[in-house]
Symmetry: C2
Subunit: 224 residues, 2 copies
DNA sequence: ATGCAGCTTATTGTATACAAATGGCATTCG
DNA sequence: CGAATGCCATTTGTATACAATAAGCTGCAT
């Protein structure tokens, strides 16, 4: 992707994810163009992409708005994600290479390290976690599946305020990864899929809890 | 969608589906613009959309080519479709309204009529079949799921020559629909999902057979 | 007051000109 | 003869001007 267009896309996307562009608010092409320092043309490209990714929705007269997902919508996304990632895990179990297994072990060791210390390094955990999952998707070797997963994986990040990361949850995540590694090693696709399903479902409930806390806080801020 | 943009999208899409634009061949924005009688701007929009829908792919230097799917790729698409439609059926079983059930019955009766006569009306069958599936997806009430299904449902249409429609197959399809209707009536999501999985898998094998016949014919045409 | 008509303004859609980047070809040098 | 390099042609990317459309507002009529 070319310079201006990529910049516009990344800028707008991160403005949505960070909450700088509030859910439900209208988006004007020219305003974004100025914010990104490019013309409307690349902005329009970006908006189309973001619309396909459901970060943005348009009303019937083509005006764009930042998507505003309810908790139900997000559960829906998580449900699809669980199904797709379980499918990926199943496929990966048949196809994963020794090298990829090694990489999985590496990232799993790293993310364990990130939380198994007095001062947990959550960003580091998240990064290696992301890479762990990416390797599984790559091993599944289905471009379509990868593209669909892309659509449901980053949506929940739209939580506006800083999330509460429950350490106990992260440790359980790491434990799931351990089990996935064994399932891959045994080439047991059914097992891998089952573990993955639980792994994502837990993520949803952790997210939902953080989300409701967040919502409470915002409500009381409004009241004050 | 506005006039020029919509025209460009529909034109290009149908040129791909009809084989007028050959799989693997390069696509130039200006050529398409002339063909569609619009400027490059709406053509570019369309190309982006079609790229997201995987009808078009781009190499690393941004040149566009008509996607050329192998049978393996198509099996992959069908596999995802089976999973997603089964999921849709399961959700639909819980949510479907009496009215929607009535509509399903109507379309199923129509498609039965289309093939239960001396001179089968295949296009009519396909149309009611499409609507039958659309109602189930609507009843599943998940925008994301619907959008994902859109991505895998129309891909196999890229068969270049006229398809052989095996009547026996269409009758079995109709039978599956009957069974789906009972499952929905009993609100048995698991049953509905199972029937749907088989329904789509059969569609794949019917398609694969037609595809290989098609490929053979093309080969011998080349040889001649 | 309320609702509607017509105007005004805001916003998106399209065309086009120009800039940047890429690929192919020919030429040159090892 | 083969590989690398520079130039030219082709193609895509970006900016901008203008057209079309939709929203909001004002004022008038009921």
């Amino acid at each position: 992707m070319s310079r201006a267009s990529e910049r516009a896309y990344n800028n707008i996307r991160s403005m949505i994810l960070s909450g700088e562009l509030q859910p439900g608010s209208q988006i004007r092409e020219e305003a974004l163009a100025e914010l990104c320092g490019v013309s409307r043309t690349p902005v329009r490209d970006s908006l189309r992409r973001l619309e396909a990714e459901m970060f943005i929705r348009r009303n019937d007269s083509q005006r764009s708005f930042v998507a505003d997902w309810s908790l139900d919508d997000l559960e829906d996304a998580f449900q699809l994600r669980a199904m797709l990632e379980a499918h990926a895990a199943k496929r990966a179990a048949r196809r994963i290479t020794r090298e990829q297994l090694g990489q999985l072990r590496f990232h799993n060791a790293q993310l364990k390290q990130a939380i198994d210390i007095p001062n947990p390094d959550v960003p580091k955990f998240l990064d290696h976690n992301r890479q762990f999952h990416a390797i599984i998707v790559a091993a599944a070797a289905s471009e379509r599946l990868a593209s669909m997963l892309g659509q449901v994986t980053e949506q929940p990040v739209v939580l506006r305020t800083a999330r509460q990361y429950d350490l106990e949850n992260l440790r359980r995540s790491h434990h799931d990864h351990d089990e996935l590694l064994i399932a891959f090693d045994k080439r047991d696709g059914e097992w891998a899929a089952a573990v993955m399903t639980g792994h994502i479902r837990r993520a949803f409930h952790a997210y939902a809890q953080a989300h409701s806390t967040d919502t409470e806080i915002r409500k009381s801020n409004l009241a004050a």
